[in-house]
Symmetry: C2
Subunit: 466 residues, 2 copies
């Protein structure tokens, strides 16, 4: 059964999704839990239904999120992880995975340009970003750990208005508050306006705030924009702010000689969040948080639990990584990406990433030549391709407020049609004053120009008579 | 290969661990990542080594952590999860798992006694506890979300001195500060002294603090003590404090008619953290955070990202759960425990949990009859059995400071011997003024009295000549 799912994942002719509305789906699968268990046969039937109605995220026409594809080495790594079912907190219970984390995190630090960096795998990029907020705060104001925020001056941080929402979630969580996340405007391509950043920093200081961190994004969620890290690093140096760089999505470009210039200056970061489960194609979840300074993670997060991190163990306890983490038990996330890296080498990742960029470039150029498609950003930097589809009936009309309002309903309508047919999944969203547009995320390594052509034909087909 | 691991996991005659010190292990396995990938044969050899040197946490003689065992339904669920590789944030990409979470969390709420409860799966019990701290703070002081801690009065929380260290980690993270976690003393069995809690609350108020939360533990990490929830709930009501109950470890008792009285009063909690990956035996990670009030999770954690939680989707978006979470992408953790629950029914879990309690009881009673074993707590409540082994050479001697200091070295020594032989893994730790003692955690459902006898014989054997 599992083999069939794997095979179907790569099969363009199968459905991406067999969509049912929640109330229908509740009737189709008997999910209820009872006093007595069911037979193995019944359970297998349930499994078949679970598979049938789940999204095939490995399908070449799944463009809905920043992850896609199903790598066989990654999958083998994840199955092996499950069978060895352990927690990553101590060397004692995870000897191989502890060393493996050192190797993979070390390699990632090297790629970023951290000479003596440190790091940890986190359950999601948001948690990595939250680690960045917390470690930076501790570094600048160590008293916060014991005394809390009330012992500190008024703090604020900067992030671009198009950066990931985890900065806000994190600020709310760590007691900084949403109001103290100051949003820096972006240019038309979605890149942070660094002149504005400088001004906002001065302004915050004049208002009596201590700005302690800037978050730069390498590959924004919607447009795939890369903030200018070098300029941001200069400003961080000038005002003594921690530079956190969120390359959860766009970090894969670091592995490509052709595209790594997008992240020039990342070696000047103090911390980096980078998710191998996105552009690198590792199975979910696989998210690294890296710091330039070694030891700071441990200092910021340690609680020295004596039942777990006994100092009188018979092996070198400096290998126990658990106190670096915000978690206690921690899922083993490293084996999946290690398997892929070992099997493919840097060269394999580079080829995958170059292909994604090439396919996104092909789609972008083709869209420019077609009636009815309008790119949001004619020169995308990452592999996000964002565009409106303008149905024939709306072409050549005056583009007044009513026209735009109508256009904002096109993408949701086409998406519904595609999902109900099961042909393709693509995200859409509004952005600032721009009404709903499609965002194709090119990430699956198996994509070809035929898949890109399919996107165009399918959208044009569904939108023909709107 | 995977099958072999599964089979060996249940085989008492195989090694729990083939231990190598970090530097040795680094030489044995070639973990390095290169420009070119390796062949599939080389990779398979690596996998064999990974398996060989990893801890067999499913082995009946793995008593080292609060998890143990390898359930075949759980494993099937985890493999299926991996192959369907999706994220739990929206119904759109996780339709089946969204409904499944509703069912399982609903069932867990019902078991706890929450009539209209709500919940979410978190990456580890520590994150659940952190959610408790954060949601409670938001409920009492909604301004914190926008304005941060500096807009609030001086806060503090209470937790017992034997509670889990994630309360401290969480307090440091959310900007409350370690100093504002006030530790309530425990009685000799490790249960919170509620008279002291009342006094400490009065004292904190007199000092100008606002105590906003009490954490009660159901199954402490070391001794397995259950705090008296009813008395704590009375105090929480009196002083308007949020009651969070951490049953990450001991929550399984709720599923047993025989043992659920240990958690009397839990229905009065405002939030509960409960890990099915511990006593219930689900694979790692599987951790539920439950709240009595519906909607509060969403209010506390939402960031309303318009690219992900579009309100104009064609289905009922109230099914999108992502904004309840501190995370964005979220691993699917529910299928593993659902598979087990569906296959075994409540009755299956009850039998498993009753067996664990029975085995712990057997071990406890037997230890009482033996020379050289001394229980830390002669009447343990949960399935933790904690004891010193006193080697023959130390028996009958005067128990002065030097004697105790010497005894503190016995458990580490015996543990090293057992690990090097690969016969058994058991944790040890000091606690307060008590020197290092063994903590056997009985959790694996396959355990028999023969395994309990083995614990005694193996420890006595290793400690014979110390």
């Amino acid at each position: 059964m599992l083999k069939e799912v794997v095979e179907k994942s790569g099969d363009v002719s199968s459905k991406v999704i067999d969509f049912k509305h929640p109330k229908e789906l509740q009737k189709l699968i008997n999910l209820s839990l009872e006093d007595r268990g069911v037979t193995d046969d019944t359970l297998l039937q349930c499994c078949e239904q679970i598979i049938q109605y789940s999204v095939k995220t490995g399908h070449p026409h799944f463009f809905n999120q920043l992850f896609s594809g199903l790598d066989r080495y990654g999958l083998a790594g994840s199955w092996l992880t499950e069978v060895l079912n352990t927690s990553q907190y101590t060397y004692e219970v995870a000897p191989v995975f502890t060393l493996m984390e050192q190797v993979v995190l070390g390699e990632m630090c090297k790629v970023v340009g951290f000479k003596n960096g440190d790091g940890i795998f986190c359950p999601g990029g948001s948690v990595s970003n939250i680690c960045g907020l917390n470690v930076a705060r501790f570094k600048k104001f160590p008293a916060v750990k014991a005394q809390g925020m009330q012992a500190l001056p008024k703090l604020c941080i900067f992030t671009s208005e198009q950066s990931h929402y985890s900065m806000k979630k994190g600020a709310a969580l760590i007691g900084l508050g949403l109001d103290n996340v100051r949003l820096v405007p972006c240019d038309s391509r979605g890149k942070m306006d660094t002149e504005a950043l400088g001004k906002l920093t001065e302004q915050a200081k004049a208002e009596g705030f201590t700005p302690y961190l800037v978050n730069a994004t390498g590959g924004t969620t919607v447009l795939g924009a890369y903030d200018p890290i070098v300029e941001i690093a200069d400003i961080c140096e000038k005002y003594d702010m921690w530079l956190h760089v969120d390359v959860c999505w766009g970090g894969g470009a670091l592995l490509s000689a052709k595209h790594r210039a997008l992240l020039d200056g990342i070696e000047r970061a103090d911390s980096v969040a980078w998710n191998p489960h996105k552009m690198m194609g590792a199975p979910l979840q696989c998210c690294a948080f890296l710091t330039k300074e070694t030891g700071i993670l441990q200092q910021a997060h340690s609680a020295n639990a004596s039942y777990l991190f006994q100092q009188d163990k018979f092996y070198d306890v400096s290998y126990d990584t658990g106190d670096k983490s915000l978690q206690c038990g921690r899922k083993v996330d490293v084996l999946k990406v290690w398997m892929m890296w070992k099997a493919k080498g840097h060269a394999g990742f580079e080829a995958k990433i170059n292909n994604a960029f090439a396919m996104a470039g092909y789609l972008t150029e083709k869209l420019k030549t077609l009636d009815g498609f309008r790119l949001i950003n004619p020169e995308p930097e990452c592999t996000n391709v964002c565009f409106w589809f303008i149905p024939p009936s709306m072409r050549g009309e005056e583009e007044d407020a009513a026209w735009w309002q109508k256009l904002g309903k096109v993408a949701p309508n086409i998406k519904e049609q595609m999902v109900m047919k099961g042909t393709m999944m693509i995200g859409y969203q509004p952005l600032g004053d721009k009404v709903n547009f499609f965002r194709v995320v090119v990430s699956n390594e198996k994509l070809t120009t035929a898949d890109m052509d399919f996107i165009i034909d399918e959208i044009a087909g569904c939108g023909q008579n709107l």
